[in-house]
């Protein structure tokens, strides 16, 4: 496996741990109250943002190595 994938996985997985921990915590203490429409929308936006970035960096790494 190319080194480029190692850094990619590290960024997405370790960064993802921080992201997940932060998101779960704010939901648990009800700072992000999922019964409030605006809060729920923002939590979904956060997750889409994370997945979007993971996809973006994945495509970028693939293009860098394979084109």
């Amino acid at each position: 496996m190319h080194n480029g994938w190692l850094t990619y996985l590290y960024q997405i997985l370790v960064g993802g741990l921080f992201f997940a921990a932060g998101t779960i915590y704010v939901i648990k203490v009800k700072s992000a109250d999922l019964t409030i429409k605006a809060d729920k929308t923002w939590v979904i936006a956060l997750i889409i943002g994370y997945l979007g970035l993971a996809l973006f960096f994945g495509v970028w790494t693939w293009l860098a190595i394979n084109t």
Binding site: H2, N3, G4, L6, T7, Y8, Y10, Q11, V14, G15, G16, F18, F19, G22, T23, Y25, V26, V29, K30, S31, A32, D33, I36, K37, A38, D39, W42, A45, L46, G49, Y50, G52, L53, F57, W60, T61, L63, A64, I65, T67
Partner: protein
């Protein structure tokens, strides 16, 4: 020093200065209170604040620094701009609603309300020293940039920019800062777009550019733990995790921007748009010239011995034309001014809210405090200016400032972070984690060895070895500029072939004209878009950490090309007699010992050539610079992680043995509802509703409420007593003409909003203009 650029370029720069001055000063009319002066009255649209953050985020040296990094490390120069998202949930649902709803005006104020007054005092001292020093540093770096790049004397450039910035910040406050930043942000992006388009066109298009940079330059991240000056793991932890938290939690200028938006929801839009859209664009804007330069090197269009630090001006001058270059320089100045104006406003806020009000004049009129805010803004600028000579004369003062930032950031961050996240975190724990944490971090600046256990977890070198990487493209040679390459990205040590090159090196302080150590250089042949690239790498060992070395490259292949006497005899080429070899000049190794600065060429660009020592004449030695490098071992990125761990341990340990503060409602993440109640002065109404449009109907008096039609109230899901945001319906004003006010009892005239003259005046509304009305909470 010769001035670069044409009169047209300078004309554009002067018009820009005058324009920004007039534009900023215009907004003085909207500043009637300290809330307006520091927070723009908390009324602006999300997009206006987002664009303002663009200009603030791109600082004094960003163009130069990231062009250099883009040139040496490639697209991974974007990494520091693109790794903030992981920590965003904690800001979006933690710190942002707390500071907004609890009406926190400054970072130290939070320390008092959440902890106690002595912790606030420590935070105030830390913040003021940091911010004022930062103003001075930015002035100095800006002066250096303009002097080295344009040839403008820094002692003229600095006061000019300082006076212009101080005038519009002092008169217009945060509103002026935000609106000038909007213009400056547009300038920055337009300049970046121009540079990107003309740069790519110069290369021959996107495809051609992509083909002329190699894999190491294309990847989004640098090598995992090498090279020491730009490696992945340090940037991930130091910038992505600790840096993002520090920037979002303790940067007073950044926080003040978020306090200027019309609502927390608008703040979340700003945050999302800024992090996912604008920061990637900013990364392209500041780095693209370096990426273009990397391809130009492959194509042989840039001098192979070019100094990477000069790459921005060198390439932008090549690819742009007169006028456009002036535009680029104006953008560069915009980047400088937009950072400084934020700092001046932030220092003034701390000065008023954390020093003047609590310690000097506790009770005074709003008019008095506004006047004092303006005086403090001027003082902050003057003190910043006064620090410039100190920064310029002593490198140790500059280093002391960086050490101070490294010392205070983790302790303040941990105190706020744990304070926000847990009610159990005690005032004594906050105080002692700041004091003990600060001392331990300062110790790590003097003795970086204590960071090794943390740095070793990611395989970072302790500084006893270093990689030297250089290339020969189509017979030309490059050194230095590509030193930031991670050579294991290019090829592993086991893949390379040994060469006739050796690198000889010596500790700079021990160097007496001879080199004691040498290391074999390995090579691998590659092709890049048809261009032959010979890559050379060596790992130097037995080095002293955190030290400067001098080195040279010796090519011994000429020694092999001429056969030695016994070899020649063996293969029957010549008759080996002493007389033949006495007459033939003995072949010599070629020694590359540095670069020659040959001044400026025909187009005014610096000409730097790689020189073999053998070729350097006595006259040229004055322009000769030796190759050098610095060994790792400072662990600049991991110092913040180390500091964070120390402060966390101290904070948690002291918390276990001390009592938490009672009544911290609204100041922790698990009591946001209380903060909302405090903000509104009643039970929050979170039901989603529509935004409606209405015509204004004025009545005499100063009643602080507005009255809406009952059907309109229903559409907005609003009740009497709810907090309402009323804004001029023209979106492009960005909330400049707007106000927050409570909803009064409804009437029954659809499409009409009734408000007192006082509310009308507070919102800076215009007679006859439609307004938009939105329920906030």
């Amino acid at each position: 020093m010769d001035l670069m650029g044409t009169p047209l370029d300078y004309g554009i720069l002067i018009v820009y200065f005058i324009g920004i001055l007039g534009f900023g000063a215009y907004f003085a009319r909207y500043t009637k209170s300290t809330s307006d002066f520091f927070f723009g009255g908390q009324r602006f649209s999300w997009w206006l604040i987002a664009s303002s953050l663009v200009a603030t985020g791109i600082g004094s040296y960003s163009f130069l620094k990231y062009a250099q990094t883009g040139f040496t490390a490639g697209l991974s120069s974007t990494m520091t701009y693109l790794n903030d998202w992981f920590m965003i949930p904690l800001f979006m649902f933690g710190w942002l609603p707390i500071i907004y709803f609890s009406r926190i005006k400054s970072v130290p104020e939070y320390f008092e309300r959440r902890f106690d007054s002595r912790t606030r005092l420590v935070a105030t001292v830390f913040t003021i020293f940091y911010l004022v020093g930062y103003i001075g540093l930015n002035f100095y770096l800006m002066g250096l940039a303009l002097q080295s790049l344009l040839g403008i004397n820094m002692w003229i450039a600095i006061p000019v920019v300082a006076v212009i910035s101080a005038i519009y910040v002092t008169t217009g406050g945060q509103t002026a800062v935000i609106f000038t930043d909007l213009i400056q942000g547009l300038f920055l992006y337009l300049a970046g777009a121009i540079l990107l388009i003309v740069g790519m066109a110069h290369i021959g298009g996107l495809q051609e550019w992509w083909q002329n940079i190699d894999v190491a330059h294309r990847l989004p991240f640098p090598g995992f733990n090498r090279p020491a000056e730009f490696e992945f793991s340090g940037i991930f932890w130091g910038e992505g995790i600790v840096g993002t938290l520090a920037f979002t939690f303790i940067n007073q200028g950044f926080i003040m921007r978020y306090l200027a938006v019309k609502s927390v929801n608008a703040g979340r839009k700003t945050l999302t748009f800024n992090t996912l859209i604008l920061m990637p664009i900013s990364a392209v804007v500041v780095g693209c010239i370096g990426w273009v330069a990397a391809a130009m090197i492959t194509k042989g269009e840039v001098n192979t011995g070019v100094n990477a630090k000069e790459i921005f001006m060198l390439v932008s001058n090549v690819v742009t034309k007169p006028g456009i270059f002036g535009f680029v320089i104006a953008a560069l100045t915009a980047a400088l001014m937009s950072t400084i104006d934020t700092l001046i406003n932030a220092v003034a806020a701390i000065g008023i809210f954390d020093v003047y009000k609590p310690y000097i004049k506790k009770e005074a009129s709003e008019k008095h405090y506004l006047k004092a805010s303006r005086v403090v803004s001027v003082l902050a600028t003057l003190v910043g200016l006064a620090l410039v000579p100190a920064f310029s004369q002593s490198r140790s003062i500059l280093q002391a400032h960086y050490a101070f930032i490294a010392m205070i950031t983790p302790p303040m961050l941990v105190a706020i972070f744990l304070g926000v996240m847990s009610k159990r975190f005690t005032p004594k724990a906050a105080f002692w984690s700041m004091i003990i944490g600060g001392i331990v971090i300062l110790t790590s600046v003097i003795y970086p060895q204590i960071i090794i256990p943390v740095a070793k977890t990611h395989g970072l070198t302790d500084g006893s070895e270093a990689d030297i990487v250089f290339e020969r493209i189509e017979g030309r040679e490059i050194m230095g500029p590509r030193a930031a390459y991670n050579w294991q990205e290019i090829f592993g040590p086991e893949e390379g072939e040994p060469t006739d090159f050796v690198i000889q090196y010596e500790l700079k302080s021990d160097f007496k004209g001879s080199y004691e150590k040498e290391q074999t250089v390995y090579t691998k042949l590659d092709t890049l878009n048809g261009t032959v690239v010979q890559r050379y790498c060596a790992t130097l060992t037995g080095l002293v950490p955190r030290s400067s070395y001098t080195f040279r490259v010796v090519d011994r292949s000429p020694l092999k090309q001429a056969p030695s006497a016994p070899e020649a005899e063996d293969i029957g080429l010549v008759e080996a007699t002493d007389s033949i070899f006495e007459q033939t000049p003995e072949p010599k190794e070629i020694i590359y010992e540095g670069t020659l600065n040959k001044g400026r060429g025909e187009n005014g660009l610096p000409v730097i050539e790689l020189a073999a020592k053998n070729d350097v004449s006595e006259e040229e030695k004055g322009a000769f610079s030796h190759f050098g490098f610095k060994t790792a071992g400072n662990y600049d990125y991991f110092r913040s992680v180390f500091g964070l761990i120390v402060c966390l341990i101290v904070g948690i340990a002291v918390s276990i043995f001390t009592k938490p503060k009672e009544n911290v409602d609204g100041l922790t993440v698990n009591s946001i509802m209380k903060a909302k109640e405090f903000f509104k002065g009643g039970k929050p109404n979170e039901t989603a509703g529509e935004i409606i449009r209405a015509k204004v109907e004025l009545y005499e008096g100063d009643e602080p409420v507005v009255h809406l039609d009952k059907h309109d109230m229903k559409r907005m899901s609003a009740e009497p007593g709810d907090l309402i945001y009323v804004a001029d319906a023209r979106w492009w004003l960005g909330g400049l003409r707007s106000t927050h006010v409570k909803a009064g009892e409804p009437h029954d005239r659809p499409g009409e909003i009734r408000m007192s003259e006082k509310v009308f005046e507070d919102g800076n509304f215009v007679v006859g203009k439609t307004v938009k009305v939105e329920k906030i909470i």
